[in-house]
């Protein structure tokens, strides 16, 4: 049931239809699978020439509505289906939260560039936590190595430095991920409203609604959005089973993904994985609405700046000089 419609099955409508008659049984599970397979065939036909984007993960039905428009019961049933599918697929109990934003919380992030040593532990902790594809590799955080002489100069930044030797003399490091802008150009550009800003400030994507046009990637000034150019692959034993619907649940090929401030953790009061793993404490995260939070202290007392201030995207991600 987890792979109710493989590409091979979708390739020829006639072949798919023929297989149906043989599998007609009263078992509701099989029936459900057949229904989905049928939907996939329809989807395939609707897509040019009967070859659709039916990929490894086909848990949602063709006609599923936008997540934002789903009622609580519909959400629950979709999530239950997904949990079942993923639990079977990965061989461990998977939970998928749809926990909404808390009213009294506005998330904010600050990164101390005088402390960051460019070790990229955040990059890999993020990959592990958020079930990013291992092959091809998808990284939501890009750590840029810069010359101290040039200052912050993206044109001369190097994202491919050798991590064994950090920090290299004469260099400093600038990790970049989604800036969770208050005026996000990506959200504005999406033609189908598949990405939006949540009340707590996190910009999220509905992977089942994204058409994969990549307008948001053209619009994002921070290179924060990543496309699944092929089926993402995560070994079952490495899957993080604690998922959020709008966050780290496994994606399918042909959709865009990005950092969500680890929505599956932070909405439960935990720190994002990158904050937790940082060995030098360069990463700070908290509630901007709380006047006593560490993040508020930093914004009020440190020399803070945002990337590409002139674009007026108003990031929720701040950089500061702690030393």
């Amino acid at each position: 049931m987890s792979k109710s419609c493989k590409n091979e099955g979708c390739g020829s409508g006639a072949g798919c239809g023929g297989a149906h008659a043989a599998t007609e049984e009263l078992d509701p599970q099989v029936e459900e699978a057949t229904r989905r397979e049928f939907m996939c065939v329809i989807a395939g036909c609707a897509a040019a020439l009967g070859v659709s984007g039916c990929s490894e993960i086909t848990h949602t039905s063709f006609f599923q509505k936008r997540f934002r428009e789903l009622g609580p019961e519909e959400r629950a049933s979709i999530v239950a289906d997904l949990e079942k599918e993923f639990s079977e697929k990965f061989g461990k109990p998977v939970t998928i939260s749809t926990q909404p934003a808390r009213e009294d919380v506005q998330f904010g992030y600050a990164l101390d560039i005088s402390r960051c040593i460019g070790c990229r532990r955040c990059v890999y902790a993020c990959v592990k936590e958020n079930n990013q594809s291992r092959d091809p590799q998808v990284h939501w955080i890009r750590v840029l190595e810069m010359d101290k002489e040039k200052g912050i100069d993206l044109a001369h930044a190097n994202a491919y430095y050798d991590a064994e030797t950090v920090p290299r003399p004469g260099h400093f490091y600038l990790p970049v991920a989604c800036q969770q802008c208050d005026q996000p150009s990506c959200v504005k550009s999406c033609p189908v409203g598949a990405t939006w800003k949540e009340p707590d400030g996190i910009v999220v994507i509905d992977y089942d609604w994204c058409i994969g046009c990549r307008c948001c990637m053209s619009a994002c000034p921070y290179g924060a959005r990543h496309f699944n150019w092929t089926d993402p692959s995560v070994p079952a034993e490495e899957i993080n089973p604690k998922m959020h619907y709008l966050g780290n649940r496994p994606r399918m090929k042909g959709v865009v993904e990005k950092c969500t401030f680890c929505v599956q953790r932070t909405r439960e009061g935990r720190y994002p994985a990158c904050v937790e793993v940082c060995p030098v404490g360069a990463r700070k995260f908290g509630n901007l609405s709380d006047p006593n939070s560490e993040i508020r202290y930093i914004l009020e007392h440190k020399r803070v700046f945002v990337l590409k201030n002139e674009l007026n995207t108003r990031p929720r991600f701040f950089y500061f000089y702690g030393l």
Binding site: V51, G53, A157, P191, W209, I211, S218, F227
Partner: protein, 410 residues
């Protein structure tokens, strides 16, 4: 006879038109079908494995497909811009061209739609764009606007062409009160589709190479070159193989208009080059990537210089009356314009806009085999649509279905 019967006969005659033809016609159709099949195979490959079969990556996330889309929006827009001299100035020689221009517009929009479809990750989800069923992000998303204007433009042209051809076929005079407002409306619509497509790029402040207001006039100017270039070649073909009488005067006039458009296009390009090089800010790097190459990356440099060379050469060929009236130079000029504008819009706009990417990384893009085959399949489809439409329209416009002596002037 009532309208329904007449329309049925119009449809039947149209079907008969496209299923009958000489050897040359069938060879051409077979060739296009062959290319289309290759395109389908390449697309099946792309569908199964994902867009990783293209050369696009996160750094250059729009490329060849979207470049072709942009170029073809220009072709579609320009074809109908010929309506202006024909109807507004009542300039007779061009009038015959209008139907052909609209047929070209229909074919070009078809290709635009296909290029977007092959570019998206989930074509089966395109219904999410349908208002009511899905969710069209208006008024904020420029792509949403583009979907609206392109589809309206397509519908508009299909209605106009069907109505005109049907009337001519039935031997009726087209009711001017009905179709003239539609034709006149198609003029701002043509400008609209190209303007909105330019907005798709120039509304992105994170991409300094595109974030320039000069992009809209540049799009319009270059479009006014490439669309008519197709029509000039087509008119000569029709004149040669059918009884179509197209005056040289009409062709020369279009060629003259094209030379002005190319002149404006070159001035605008020059203004961009000056602004970037003289101010010499960090944003210059995109222009440098285009014309010089940056850090040992030169993949598109020769193509860009070829584009500039072709555009200037075409401008000279068309501005001098003696050369534009010489059939060899004229067709050479059309070819030069096609190469010049195609490279400028296809690669020269999209690739340098994304190279280096927003964090300064240079990923050198060049289309993959899959992209090239899929694109040729799309072009073949568009050419087939155009061929069939012209095949249907030609005998109708020549009055072949009318008894002798009862031909209706169009």
């Amino acid at each position: 006879m009532n309208t329904a019967t007449l329309f049925a006969r119009f449809v039947l005659d149209s079907l008969r038109s496209i299923t009958r033809g000489n050897k040359l016609y069938w060879t051409w159709v077979a060739f296009l079908l062959l290319l289309m099949s290759a395109g389908v195979l390449a697309y099946v490959h792309q569908s199964r494995n994902g867009l990783i079969t293209t050369s696009m990556r996160d750094q250059v996330s729009w490329a060849f497909y979207i470049g072709n889309f942009t170029f073809l929006v220009g072709v579609a827009a320009a074809a109908v811009l010929l309506v202006i001299p024909a109807y507004v100035y009542e300039w007779k020689p061009i009038k015959e061209v209008v139907i052909l221009g609209e047929l070209l517009a229909i074919s070009a929009i078809t290709m635009c739609g296909l290029f977007v479809t092959v570019d998206v990750g989930h074509p089966e989800r395109l219904w999410h764009l349908l208002p009511g069923l899905g969710h069209l992000n208006l008024p904020r998303s420029m792509l949403a606007w583009d979907v609206v204007v392109l589809n309206s433009y397509l519908v508009l042209n299909v209605i106009i062409v069907t109505y005109l051809l049907f009337s001519l076929h039935a031997g009726r005079s087209p009711n001017k009160k009905l179709f003239l407002p539609l034709v006149l409306f198609s003029i701002p619509a043509a400008i609209g589709i190209h303007t909105v497509t330019a907005f798709l790029y120039c509304g992105l402040p994170g991409r300094p190479f595109w974030n320039t207001s000069i992009l809209v006039p540049r799009f319009l100017a270059s479009a006014f070159c490439s669309g008519p270039a197709v029509l000039i070649v087509l008119m000569q073909i029709l004149r040669r193989f059918t009884r179509f009488e197209i005056q040289n005067e009409a062709i020369w006039k279009i060629a003259e208009l094209m030379s002005y458009a190319m002149g404006v296009n070159l001035i605008l390009l020059g203004a961009e080059v000056f602004k970037d090089y003289y101010s010499n800010t960090e944003h210059l790097i995109h222009m440098r990537y285009m014309f010089e190459g940056v850090g040992g990356h030169h993949a598109i440099v020769p193509w860009m210089w070829l584009s500039v060379f072709c555009s200037i050469a075409a401008f000279l060929v068309f501005i001098v009356p003696k050369t534009r009236r010489n059939p060899i130079w004229l067709n050479l000029g059309c070819a030069l314009i096609w190469v010049g504008v195609y490279l400028e819009k296809g690669m020269g706009l999209v690739i340098p806009g994304m190279t280096p990417d927003t964090l300064g990384e240079i990923y050198e893009y060049f289309p993959s085999h899959t992209e090239l085959w899929v694109a040729s399949g799309v072009f073949a489809t568009g050419f087939l649509v155009f061929t069939l439409l012209v095949k249907i329209a030609t005998p109708i416009m020549l009055g072949d279905y009318q008894p002798a002596g009862a031909k209706v002037a169009h």
